[in-house]
Amino acid sequence: MATPSESDRTEQIITLFLHKAQHAVLASRIPHLNLSAPRPASARDRWFHLALGDLPAQIGHHGAVMDPLVVDILLTPRGDADDPAGSPEAVVERWTAQCVPPSPWSAAAPHHPHDGSWHRKTYKKSIILLRSLYALLRLLPAHRIFRLLCSSSQPYNYDLSYRISSFVAPFSRAEDAELKQYSFAPVETLFGQLVVSVQYRPSLANFNLEVSSMPPMIITDYVGSPAADPMRPFPSSLPERVSRPIMHQYPPTGIRTSATPSFDRPHSWNSTPLAHHPLSSASGPPVSEIGFLLPEHYGHLVPNQRPLGETKGSSGYNELKLSPPLSTSASPSPPTRGGDSPQSRFHLETAPVSIPTGKSQHRSPNLSDPFKSLLPPPSPRSTRADPFRKSEGLNLGDVYSNFHIYAAHKGLKDGRDDSGRFSALSSGGSPRYGFSRSSSRLSIQDDLDDGDFSYPFAVDDVDTSDSQARSFDGREAPEDTSSHKSPEYGSSHKSREAEVGILVHMLKTAAPLRQGQGSLQSSESNAEVI
């Protein structure tokens, strides 16, 4: 009778073998799940002495140790789903791995030595079995299609997808007739025989694999698009996704990536945008683990729960488009002044808009953000203490749009708050965040803490329009003395718009930002007059 430790060991061997076998099959059949084993190999990856990389836990075998693992590799036509003439998906391979217990009526159970060597033999034989499985995967016809889809930048009319289940759904007679079977020699274990087999199509010539004529898929709900829902929350699994760069954010057209994600895209206007930043302490694993954690990203793209214990994944782009690359980016976030404060919301809303300056240096927390290049260009800003003193390259249109967004979203109350903020700015406090020229929230926070900042619109031109603009500015300026609050903020929307126009005009005629404190004081005095 086997000792408990031998039983545990055997169970562990069987469980991990099934997991590894599944990994080997998927990595050799599903494009973009083609994982490279990181160096050094993790402890789990060293099992069976075959370093394949770590498969996402969500894709792993979740059944009991004695439950069969069935992996169907499907050739899925890529085309109009509504097209009645479209051919259905076809199973090109079915891999089955299972520990089959000895039948009750079989002869006497084979003698297992009690010296603990049995599970070592089982392990050694499992290693060889896994090698054979790995080698056979490369000899079967489906591997050619896999290589074609992986290497081609052109979309094809078929995709490779997979389906994992814990039961063996029988094939139809027609399908059965087309399939050949290969069974590996079983490996004896304490619990029974570890059996691996594959049913495969010997020829895939019937599938006319050719470059697809379909146009590239267009992402319609990219971040910032009108179609996108701005208030969709971050998915709970995002930290892992963010920590892991997506290998195919813009996948080769026609190669569909993994299955439908079960989460929503985050947006920069989320109240805690940095929560999922790779460098955030609150987020997932550290940046150094990005390479190791890549497989888990694909795990999140695969729906894990399916009826009848099925799990299906596809290499389809249809699924990835719902989770575009920008979703995993740590979009620049404003400094968090309390998660749900209007100010922080405003910061979030205006962050993505860029206001280019001559020097595009800007401090960004997401230094290692792989998706930085995919974001709208962040507002370049100087690393100097008071960047808003610079005027060169100030894109007034962007400033206007920033302010317009701000004005449209702020009510009386918010206006007062912003007024307070403006006044703080004008008194040399924090930068005018409402006109943030940087999409880097942390840098803006730094600016907010910068005591030398001067309000960018604090000009001392005496034009009528300028003075009106300045009055608007001035009204905003004295925040910390409530007596300076302008009644204008309690005015109607129409007057607010007028104020905006005045402000814009003022900006257009503003002097260079490099101004001393004196200019601020003069603007305040002008405001008081008006």
Binding site: A37, A51, L52, R131, A135, L136, R138, R144, A185
Partner: protein
């Protein structure tokens, strides 16, 4: 100890194809016998539509390439012949002290015979008639393509044969003694350039005698 022997299906190859054929076969065998921690590397045959797996080990690749070069050198001197490349796995046991020193005894527990029939490429037919020459050239090209495709198919069968054998025979494999990539000592025997084929066969016979079992030629 049993010495399991596997005679692989004979392949008809031309000299330019020897390297690819031997590489794919030797690496596939060693991939199944190098039971240390391995990062598998897929290698695409240049001449055939076949992917085989290598252990990502530079020393192993170097050793195999050296042996292949040695074999190719022999083939150049002995063209149009049937020959064998043998890869054997053994255990080192019982160092017997002799008059001449300690004798290291090898016990071979597995041998693989790669049977190759080396043929020279067919020269294109010469014709004074231009049209006939073109047709002959086209035929030769098609013939070469079909021969290459047939060889690719045969090579695939050989690789499958290796997988079958490896799976069927597992009990004779000794326990793992170390954590190196190549877990068991091995040797690759090729007909020596200086020797005749007789000398090579003598080596094989000697090995057979050491194992104590007749070589299974089936």
């Amino acid at each position: 100890m049993n010495c399991e022997t596997c005679q692989l299906k004979e392949l008809v190859v031309e000299p330019p194809e020897i390297r690819e054929v031997l590489r794919s076969i030797l690496h596939t065998i060693l991939f199944h016998r190098a039971l240390g921690l391995v990062r598998p590397k897929d290698v695409e045959c240049e001449l055939f539509d076949i992917i085989y797996v290598q252990c990502e080990d530079h020393e192993l690749e170097k050793k195999i390439d050296e042996k292949i070069n040695q074999f190719i050198g022999w083939v150049e001197k002995h063209p149009n012949r049937k020959s064998q490349v043998c890869i054997s796995f053994y255990e080192v046991k019982n160092k017997h002290a002799t008059w001449f020193g300690n004798k290291i005894e090898r016990f071979y527990w597995e041998q693989w015979y790669i049977n190759l029939h080396i043929v020279s490429p067919k020269p294109h037919g010469k014709s004074h008639n231009t049209k006939a020459h073109v047709v002959t050239g086209e035929n030769a090209f098609e013939e070469s393509n079909s021969r290459c495709a047939a060889l690719g198919s045969s090579l695939r069968e050989v690789l499958l044969q290796i997988i079958n054998f490896v799976n069927e025979k597992k009990d004779h494999i000794p326990p793992l003694q170390n954590s190196e990539i190549v877990s068991f000592p091995y040797e690759i025997s090729t007909p020596s350039s200086s020797d005749s084929s007789f000398g090579w066969h003598a080596d094989v016979l000697k090995r057979m005698l050491q194992t104590g079992h007749p070589s299974m030629l089936s």
